[in-house]
């Protein structure tokens, strides 16, 4: 069953190739994309079930023994995040055809969107550092195309800034990977984990670790490297915003999570200290930035930054509880941010703009959407019956247990600011009277696309409520993922030990 590990890469790859071949027929592309994402969700669920039953799954490609060949490996963390990414992909595959203008969709949305999922899946399951760099590039080039698809003035500006900083991040990542190879003579992450401890020049290892913090920090939008995100994320079409916000920065957090538990554990006081400080500033900058914005898309862009800070705090604290909270929050945040961006997109269609000052009256026009958005925003602020509460609770508790008082304070202050923000945003969008005329209700949307637009938002809002009401299963899996991260012996054993067992 270890071939399941290859599914998060292979299924969207087939999807990308077939949608590219079906260039002439948009309806066929839509069906293929939705089918691909549904299949991907099923395969990732099977992978998670398999990992949950039998522990880490590793696959040596072409039977080249680790550490010489490329290894794919999935532990609880990889499988869980791949599943969350697949669910996000499915929601967007349903939403996108109803939302995108015809020329944007026909201009290559489907193949590129599938290709993006290939990169995301590859980054989650790869066990080889250089291979991870390659998957990051697959994601990067796909996101370039998605971001500039349509080519409006705003988009061109956003894409220029996004491309500029990310090209630099790419070079830094490549250099960091190569330096690690020079230090240890291996690129297999499990093998690296063992050999990095024996490197004489530990100062050099810390230097490389900081290079990784910068490279992954740009990808994940850490302070002070996040300015590209609020400059770019609000410019493309709604469906594309949701893909970027739901997946890309989270892969950066995953990379930090993986490398700073498996590889760089030698000088925690320094490397994790740097990460912790950056996490605090990221939370503060994101929460304050969101408050200062007057456009719903940009508010959400800054909130992406703020929650990245919260998750990186979990990585930096590096206790089992903090890691479990981080994993839980990561899954919650992937679903939540997608839902928020999609919901805001629907509200934008109804009220004809995204400036908060010009919105309003949507509650009278569409109570359903208002309630769905209320659930999503409340989850963002961390109100109890929703999933955001449990993730934040675990992370703040971990900070208190680690006696990181300042960080716990910053996290709570960020929660308070977010609560204020959420009240303001929901009030402005839905509750206050509309400045000019009545807002049209959901009935004004084209009948064919109505279910496709509201359905994914409803699904994601219900998901955050369901996880909030029954947090135990997800928390249990997150705790197992955290246990594997804190003690990577099983991961290393499975990846390197597979050579005795031959092809599993």
């Amino acid at each position: 069953m270890s071939w399941l590990v290859v599914c998060p890469i292979l299924i969207p790859l087939v999807g990308a190739a077939s949608t590219a071949l079906l260039r002439g027929s948009l309806p066929a592309q839509r069906i293929v994309t939705i089918a691909t994402m549904a299949l991907l969700t099923a395969a990732c669920a099977a992978l998670l079930w398999r990992v949950n039953q039998g522990g880490v799954v590793a696959l040596q490609l072409s039977n080249w023994e680790a550490p010489f060949g490329i290894t794919l490996a999935a532990d609880h963390l990889s499988a869980l995040l791949a599943l969350a990414a697949a669910v996000v992909g499915l929601c967007i595959a349903v939403f996108a055809p109803a939302d995108l203008e015809r020329e944007r969709e026909a201009g290559g949305f489907h193949p590129v969107f599938n290709a993006l999922l290939v990169g995301v899946g590859g980054a989650f399951v790869t066990g080889d550092l250089f291979n991870m760099y390659v998957w990051f590039e697959v994601m990067l080039i796909s996101s370039f195309v998605l971001l500039s698809l349509g080519g409006t003035r705003e988009q061109t500006d956003g894409a220029l800034k996004y491309a500029g900083i990310n090209l630099v991040a790419t070079v830094l990542l490549l250099l960091a990977v190569a330096l690690l190879y020079a230090l240890t003579g291996t690129l297999n992450m499990a093998d690296l984990s063992i050999r990095l401890k024996d490197v004489e020049n530990q100062g050099m290892v810390s230097t490389v670790a900081v290079l990784f913090i910068i490279a992954f920090g740009i990808k994940a939008a850490l302070f002070p490297l996040f300015f590209w995100l609020p400059a770019a994320y609000h410019t493309p079409a709604t469906a594309v915003q949701a893909v970027l916000a739901g997946l890309l920065t989270k892969v950066g957090v995953y990379a930090l999570l993986r490398s700073f538990t498996l590889l760089f554990t030698g000088d925690e006081g320094y490397t994790h200290g740097v990460l912790l400080g950056l996490a605090g500033f990221t939370m503060a900058a994101g929460a304050l930035g969101a408050l200062a914005m007057g456009d719903i898309r940009r508010v959400l862009g800054f909130q992406v930054v703020a929650t990245i800070g919260l998750m990186v705090m979990g990585v930096a604290l590096n206790t089992p509880l903090a890691l479990a909270g981080c994993v839980f929050y990561l899954v919650h945040d992937m679903l939540l941010k997608t839902g928020l961006f999609l919901g805001a997109g629907v509200a934008r269609r109804l009220s004809g703009g995204t400036a908060l000052a010009g919105m309003g009256g949507l509650y009278a026009a569409t109570p359903l959407l208002s309630l769905l958005m209320f659930a999503l925003l409340a989850s963002l602020a961390g109100f109890p019956p929703f999933s955001g509460f449990w993730g934040k609770l675990a992370l703040v508790r971990a900070a208190l247990e680690a006696e990181a008082w300042v960080m716990a304070g910053v996290a709570l202050a960020m929660g308070l600011l977010t609560m204020w923000l959420v009240g303001r945003v929901w009030g402005e969008m839905f509750w206050k009277a509309r400045p000019a005329g009545d807002a049209p209700g959901l009935a004004s949307l084209p009948a064919a696309g109505r279910a496709a637009l509201v359905g994914p938002v409803a699904l994601l809002a219900l998901a955050t409520l369901a996880i909030g009401l029954w947090p135990a299963p997800l928390m249990e899996i997150s705790a197992r993922a955290a246990a594997e991260l804190s003690d990577p012996a099983a991961y290393i054993q499975t990846v390197l030990g597979a050579r005795e067992g031959g092809a599993q």
């Binding site: 370039f144 080519g151 061109t156 500006d157 894409a159 220029l160 500029g164 090209l167 609000h234 410019t235």
Partner: protein, 125 residues
């Protein structure tokens, strides 16, 4: 030889950083190209440099002779060059597109996505 290559790579990085700090987008792009080549050169040097000794296993040997250059970094560079080429080709088209849309390549004047407050683009809260 390694020393010369290391210095060359360092000089390239210095020039790249100077170009990256420019407000002109085309110079920024040149900076990125130079930076990625500097990284490739650094990786090439990391693998060791030997003159006249190709990393080939002789007919009656099982492993490489000691002291030969490691050929894996060279394979890594090949991959990185291909990836870099694709990304830079896209970036070049993007910069050209920016020039046709905005009529300028001065990044200070390109503010379509983030209009300056008070210029009417964005409503203050």
């Amino acid at each position: 030889m390694e020393l010369v290559m290391a210095i060359a790579s360092g000089v390239m990085v210095a020039i790249a950083v100077y170009l990256l700090l420019s407000r002109h987008l085309l110079r920024l792009l040149f900076g990125v190209i130079l930076l990625s080549n500097a990284a490739n050169l650094a990786i090439f040097t990391l693998g060791g440099l030997t003159e006249g000794e190709p990393p080939l296993i002789g007919p009656d040997a099982e492993i490489l002779a000691a002291g030969t250059a490691n050929s894996l970094p060279q394979a890594l560079i090949l991959t990185a060059i291909v990836i870099g080429f694709g990304l830079l080709a896209f970036a070049l088209v993007l910069v050209y597109r920016g020039y046709t849309v905005f009529g300028t390549l001065d990044s200070d004047e390109i503010r379509a996505a983030e209009p300056v407050r008070g210029s009417g683009g964005e409503g203050a809260p």
